[in-house]
Amino acid sequence: MKYIAKIISQIPPSGIRKFFDLVMGMKDVISLGVGEPDFVTPWNICETAIHSIEQGYTCYTSNKGIPELRQAICHHLHYQHKIHYNPDTEILITAGVSEAMDLSIRAIINPGDQVIIPAPSYVSYGPMVTLAGGQPVYIYTSKDNGFKINAIDITNACSRKTKAIILNYPVNPTGVSYTKSELEKLKKAIHKNNLLVISDEIYDELSYDFKHTPWPSLTGAANQCIYLNGFSKAYAMTGWRLGYAAGPRKIIAAMTKIHQYTMLCASTPGQVAAIEAIQSGQQSVNQMREEYRRRRNFVVSGLQKIGLNCLMPKGAFYVFCPIDITGLDSVEFANRLLKEQKVAVVPGTAFGSGYNDYIRISYASSMENLKEALFRIAKFIQHTKK
């Protein structure tokens, strides 16, 4: 169609659209394909939003977001991680981390600039870079290196045109995370190559084996970093669409410029609710984290028992599971598992072209569902083993 912009053709269509339609057309499916918490938003947060609507908080806010929320975020980052941001100039409230990521990329990319993205990765990063006129450059990690990038990978991926690197940890879809000393090593390579870091740390509260280290908390890292976080995963608020970016004043100002002409501001009741979340939601976060930890242990040990030799994820709520013992490719595996056992998982190829031997399993589901799903997966594997 002649009206559609050329750049749209450069973005690959969704790799799972057909599969998604197939899942939606079936009844009684246990879905382990959901990328959001199975908890509902804690009631104190919902109640705050309801009250705010009753009180008439239904109008626009400042482009940057409600000052109290920006202050609460700064206080949280300072109190939890000793990271200092100015709430007036270095914080921008956005419609989820997705908008914050899009703004970050659009604020820094000139046509032809390259952005490094470790793969497998969340599906949106590459297309966002392409839409901004940039070029995504992938570092393909594998199970052999624990799905982690290292300093040499970064240096090898750099060219004259490389401007930034997108980090996301704990990682969707692998659940991999990095210790502080691993991050320090990456920092050396990143700073040596003078890259800006866009760090999506939306799963930070769901870290199970060691304390999460935010990128800007590393010495000297904050002024070369846009730190992205939000409320979706930790507070089970995905549908509220609320996130934020924190970073150097000039970058935040550039992002705010785009934001004010496109989104204008994030949802007002959502922003009020987020203040409550950040001030009083820690107990709920802790309870959810413990529940996810138990489920992770249960699911990983179950998969390993079946013969699917997956790594123990350190965070988020995903297991990136190898399926090579079946001889099936990831799409065929997902299709057949769905049809034969009514369990939905996401094919690994949705997260990068090289991941045909993997599926992503989400354990954001009740223990009852997980038990039944593992039982069905075991039956399926028995029938399909090479």
Binding site: M24, G33, E36, N297
Partner: protein
């Protein structure tokens, strides 16, 4: 609270094998810990939570909150009277509370008459019971942390990345 107790409090049907997998412990040590809790009385018993309002009408029961004022006894305070009261099978729970009365009971029976009889003929005439106020429960929305209505639907879309 210990991880194993948290799991069992949520679902008492969870097997020691499953708990072992969730907590990365050996099955034998999970069994040992559970036995220990059972022996010490931390785990009192395992039971099923029912939404009795969904039972057949003839199988339902009537419950009442009863406020009881009592005269404390020398040396034993309220404990002696509490024990004499909570031993009645009609008493489902019994708490010593602060405020304008002393004991708060939840009593139950197959019908209104049974509970009324308990109050009028057993509880009120007891020596040292100074007075009672009975509130019959009309509807229970939430009990012991469980919301008593049918499980809410999972509203998430089946696949999201």
């Amino acid at each position: 609270m210990d991880n194993i107790l948290t799991i069992l409090e949520k679902d008492a049907r969870t097997t020691p094998e499953e708990i072992a997998r969730m907590t990365k412990k050996k099955v034998s040590s999970v069994k040992k810990i559970i036995k220990g809790h059972e022996k010490s009385g931390v785990i009192v018993k395992y039971k099923t939570v029912l939404n009795k309002e969904m039972l057949r009408i003839d199988a339902r029961e009537v419950r009442a909150l009863i406020e009881v004022n009592i005269v404390p006894q020398k040396n034993v305070g309220f404990d002696y009277m509490a024990e004499r009261i909570y031993k009645f099978p009609e008493v489902i729970s019994c708490h010593l509370v602060s405020g304008t009365y002393d004991l708060l009971l939840i009593a139950g029976g197959k019908d209104l008459h049974t509970v009324a009889n308990f109050v009028a003929e057993k509880l009120s005439p007891m020596q040292n019971v100074r007075g009672t106020t009975t509130h019959f429960l009309l509807k229970t929305y939430k009990e012991d942390g469980d919301i008593l209505k049918q499980v809410e639907k999972d509203r998430r879309i089946a696949i999201s990345l």
